[in-house]
């Protein structure tokens, strides 16, 4: 029966075979479809990736171009491959036109340092904080700061170097200026003869040498202290009102005389000026105190005061002395005068003509002596500012008083030309002033008819008074001399040589002046200027 397999079996086998092929074809078709789809997707992904890379590249390019700092890319021989715009701006070269090797940019004095740094870059692959000078095309020598690194290929072979370059010339210059100013300031502060203290909330922050020397503490010791530690407690509290005002912005500075306590416990007086240092919005940040040791000054002031007192005392003593001496000197003169008079009375008959003449001479001499003593007394008190009784004075009255007091011979007329003004002064002094000049004028008249004319001129802030006589006149060479004490031009018993020196002294007191015009034999005019 095997040979005679039934056709049904064969048909079934054929059918199975057909089915299998169909299946295989379908799988094949599906796979190829999948492959196609994958290929398509891959294509898409590739395109996307390329786009992304391009984008990144351009982004990077933008970053480099827009980098504030200069960016330089070069090959291992130093030939510049790429520069960003900042680099072009800095160095001034355009590598699309001219080739550039960085070695040519190195400032000659910095060459060695540059080479060393470059070698280090090659070996380490990175080099930071390179700082040196470079030549630029347009800006001369500039100081630059560079951070550099090496770019390696896949086989770890260096192929290029890139560097970020920053021009720090201005920065350095600014820093230098700042440092210089800081140095100058600190020179001032350190060499100041004034002590300087910077404090913050009662705490000492900084002090200068002068203050350290004054107080006896070192800088470090002071920085550990508060202001109260070097203050006298009472004074510290009494000055707190000022600090309060300073804090509240009512005042910006104040000055007080206060004491400081030294390291050794002793104290010194100091003139202390405190100023507020505020923030922009007015908050008190620091207080700066300038401290000046015034111990010596106070001591000197004290001495001056004592000196002044003793001077006043000795002035007073001198005045008293002049007073007493002149009176003591006058007493014997009075006695002699009395005794001589008694001789004259008692022995009138016995005395011959010459005897009486001699007695008259003694009396004359006594009178002159008394005038001299009175003059000295007046002179010593004329310049005394302490007993000035300043009041409004009617000069016309004063002149009348004078002409009533002094002896005026019948042939002499004293007249006031224009009504004299009122002036301010001490009555006694002003009378002495005019009396001395008028009596001089009267005394030295040698004409048959004597004239003494008193007049004045108004000169805005002062008056000029004139006393004009038709007397003997004063020679030019004596015009200065007559104002000096004891310089009398005659041996007249009334002429002591003190009168005009008293005049001068009184005028000094009132800041006035005196001068004269004179013609020998014709007369003299004295001018007196007095403030209104």
């Amino acid at each position: 029966m095997n040979k005679t397999k039934s056709p049904e079996i064969l048909t079934r086998a054929l059918f199975r075979e057909r089915e299998a092929r169909k299946q295989a074809e379908k799988i094949l078709e599906d796979k190829s479809m999948e492959l196609y789809r994958l290929t398509q997707e891959l294509k898409k992904a590739n395109a996307k990736l390329k786009k992304q890379v391009d984008q990144k590249n351009s982004e990077l390019k933008g970053v480099f171009q827009n980098l504030v700092d200069a960016y330089v890319l070069m090959d291992v021989f130093g030939n510049v491959i790429e520069m960003n715009s900042a680099a072009v701006e800095l160095f001034g070269y355009d590598i699309s036109i001219e080739s550039l090797n960085v070695m040519n940019l190195i400032y000659k004095e910095d060459y060695e340092y540059a080479i060393t740094s470059f070698r280090k870059l090659i070996t380490d692959g990175i080099f930071s904080d390179y700082q040196a000078r470079v030549y630029t095309k347009k800006k001369g020598v500039r100081t630059v700061h560079i951070n550099a690194s090496i770019i390696f290929d896949q086989k770890n072979k260096p192929i290029a170097a890139q560097g970020i370059v920053r021009d720090i010339t201005e920065e350095l210059r600014g820093k230098e200026v700042f440092e210089e100013q800081k140095k100058q300031l600190s020179v001032i502060v350190e060499n100041s003869s004034l002590g300087i203290v910077l404090s913050q909330y009662k705490k000492i922050i900084q002090t200068n040498k002068a203050f350290q020397n004054l107080i006896g503490y070192s800088k470090e010791e002071l920085e550990q202290k508060e202001v109260i530690d070097i203050s006298v407690r009472d004074e510290y509290e009494s000055s707190s009102a000022f600090f309060e005002k300073l804090h509240r912005g009512i005042i910006d500075d104040f000055s007080i005389n206060r004491r400081f306590v030294k390291k050794d416990g002793s104290k010194f007086w100091a003139k202390t000026s405190i100023a507020a240092v505020r923030t922009a919005d007015g908050v008190l940040r620091y207080q700066v105190a300038l401290v000046e040791d015034i111990t010596e000054q106070l001591e000197a002031e004290k001495q001056n005061k004592e000196l002044l007192l003793s001077l006043e005392k000795s002035n007073q003593e001198l005045k008293d002395y002049a007073h007493i001496v002149s009176h003591d000197l006058k007493s014997p003169l009075r006695s002699i005068n009395a005794l001589v008079n008694w001789i004259k009375e008692d022995y009138n008959k016995e005395l011959e003509g010459t005897g009486l003449d001699n007695i008259a001479l003694i009396e004359n001499t006594l009178e002159k002596m008394e005038n001299l003593i009175s003059g000295i007394l007046n002179y010593s008190s004329a310049g005394n500012k302490n007993n000035l009784d300043t009041q409004k004075l009617n000069l016309n009255e004063i002149i009348t008083d004078i002409t009533d007091t002094i002896f005026i011979p019948k042939h002499v007329t004293v007249s006031i030309k224009n009504k004299l003004p009122y002036i301010y002064g001490d009555r006694t002094r002003i009378q002495q002033l005019f009396q001395n000049i008028i009596s001089n004028a009267v005394n030295y008249i040698d004409k048959e008819e004597g004239k003494v004319d008193i007049d004045y001129q108004d000169k805005d802030s002062y008056y000029v008074f004139s006393i004009k006589d038709n007397g003997v006149g004063i020679k030019k060479e004596y015009h200065e001399k007559i104002f000096k004490i004891f310089q009398s031009l005659s041996d007249n018993k009334n002429s002591t040589g003190i009168g005009l020196s008293i005049v001068k002294k009184i005028l000094d007191l009132y800041e006035g002046d005196i001068w004269l015009e004179s013609k020998s034999g014709v007369g003299t005019t004295f001018y007196i200027s007095l403030k209104k």
Partner: protein, 136 residues
């Protein structure tokens, strides 16, 4: 004109002589008691039976000066009524003012010339001899 009892307080002998000579030459019968300083004067004034009508005193005297003596007199309930007249060489305004403040009855400058002195003393004594006085 009544006769005055005068206490003259003066340390200068010649001044005292001058005063007495004036009285003699003018034939004035006033009674003069002399003291050469303040202490002596006070001693004399203690005797209440011999209280003078008039006191003439010098300002510049040794020991107690004129002003000090004056103050003592003006503090005394009895002596304060005796007119006291200063005889002085000082025309210092301050001195004169001070004396009047203490309460003097007069202030006379001693002149250089004897004739002037005579005149002043004569006038002084004639004035006080016509004045009514409080007798202690």
């Amino acid at each position: 004109m009544k006769t005055l009892s005068v206490l003259l307080i003066e340390d200068d002998m010649i001044e005292t002589m001058k005063f007495n000579r004036v009285l003699n030459s003018l034939e004035l019968k006033h009674k003069v008691t002399e003291a050469t300083n303040g202490e002596e004067a006070l001693k004399i004034l203690k005797d209440k039976n011999r209280i003078p009508d008039l006191i003439l005193l010098d300002l510049n005297m040794p020991k107690m000066n004129g002003k000090e003596l004056l103050k003592i007199l003006k503090d005394d309930p009895v002596l304060r009524y005796i007119p006291a007249i200063i005889l002085s060489t000082s025309n210092n305004h301050q001195d004169i003012k001070e004396c009047y403040e203490i309460g003097v009855a007069g202030y006379i400058m001693k002149p250089l010339k004897y004739e002037e002195y005579t005149q002043k003393i004569k006038n002084l004594l004639s004035y006080w001899s016509v004045s009514e006085l409080i007798k202690g």
